[in-house]
């Protein structure tokens, strides 16, 4: 990595904000997502931004982009070897469904309604239910 040719000598105080401040790496990425019933859904592998395009000049005074979705997908390989999975392989969880950001990210909807939990649903419906006693809770 090249050394920076210039580092700002003086830092101005951060502008005051009326709302809560979240840094993506510290507060969002890799956090576990919990549904409204407290069941784990997925982890946050990436974020989708709405309102900005890569390498397109931004007009002065343009509205700031917002998070449109939390993304999850097969990122283990790309984290080891670099890059990221194609956008089409990432599963989107819309920001509108998020109810709170804390140690975990909580949703206001049930995981049954989300695309993230399709593997779990498939295993339940195709494999677990065929095991004797697999269609009901243990006594």
């Amino acid at each position: 990595m090249n050394r920076p040719q210039h580092t700002p000598a003086r830092l101005e105080p951060a502008p005051p904000t009326s709302g809560r401040v979240l840094d993506a790496q510290l507060h969002l990425l890799d956090r576990q997502v919990i549904d409204v019933d407290g069941l784990p859904v997925t982890t946050v592998d990436d974020l989708e931004l709405e309102g900005v395009e890569a390498d397109i000049p931004i007009a002065a005074g343009a509205a700031a982009p917002v998070i449109s979705a939390l993304l999850s997908g097969p990122v283990l390989g790309t984290r080891i070897f670099g890059g990221r999975p194609p956008s089409s392989r990432l599963i989107r969880l819309t920001w509108k469904d998020v109810s709170a950001v804390d140690v975990t990210i909580r949703l206001g909807v049930r995981s049954e309604s989300l695309a993230e939990s399709w593997v779990e649903r498939w295993i339940r419906d195709k494999i677990i239910t065929r095991i004797p006693g697999g269609k009901h809770d243990p006594h």
Partner: protein, 116 residues
């Protein structure tokens, strides 16, 4: 746009001066619109680090100083980090981020920047 495309990008000033790499992105939660559970997360700006392409646990942005040797090492590693606001960003991409003429560098600290 996918956020991790921007993380690690090289940041250049308006005169093509190399300033560092994007270490993180800062969002602010505004008032929630009707019918939405949580406020929209608006991009406030990018954290630029002159010495590293990422940030580990954000020691340089908060007052946590335990364990002391670890905190000192990480604060030193990320020395010189600063926040550039969205209004000062001219182009954002997976390779480079270019800032506008007369951009301001802000303190990246989270203390006093809201509850997080």
């Amino acid at each position: 746009m996918i956020l991790t495309d921007v993380l690690g990008s090289r940041v250049y000033g308006p005169d093509a001066t190399y300033l560092g790499r994007v270490a993180d992105a800062r969002f602010v939660l505004d008032q929630p619109p009707p019918g939405q559970l949580l406020a929209g997360a608006r991009l406030q700006g990018l954290i630029v680090s002159p010495h590293s392409a990422g940030s580990f646990m954000g020691y340089e942005r908060n007052n946590v100083n335990r364990p002391w040797p670890w905190a000192q090492l990480l604060k030193w590693w990320h020395r010189g980090s600063f926040l550039v606001l969205w209004a000062d960003i001219k182009v954002m991409g997976p390779e480079t981020v270019t800032l506008r003429e007369g951009f301001s560098a802000h303190d990246p600290g989270l203390e006093g920047a809201g509850t997080a």
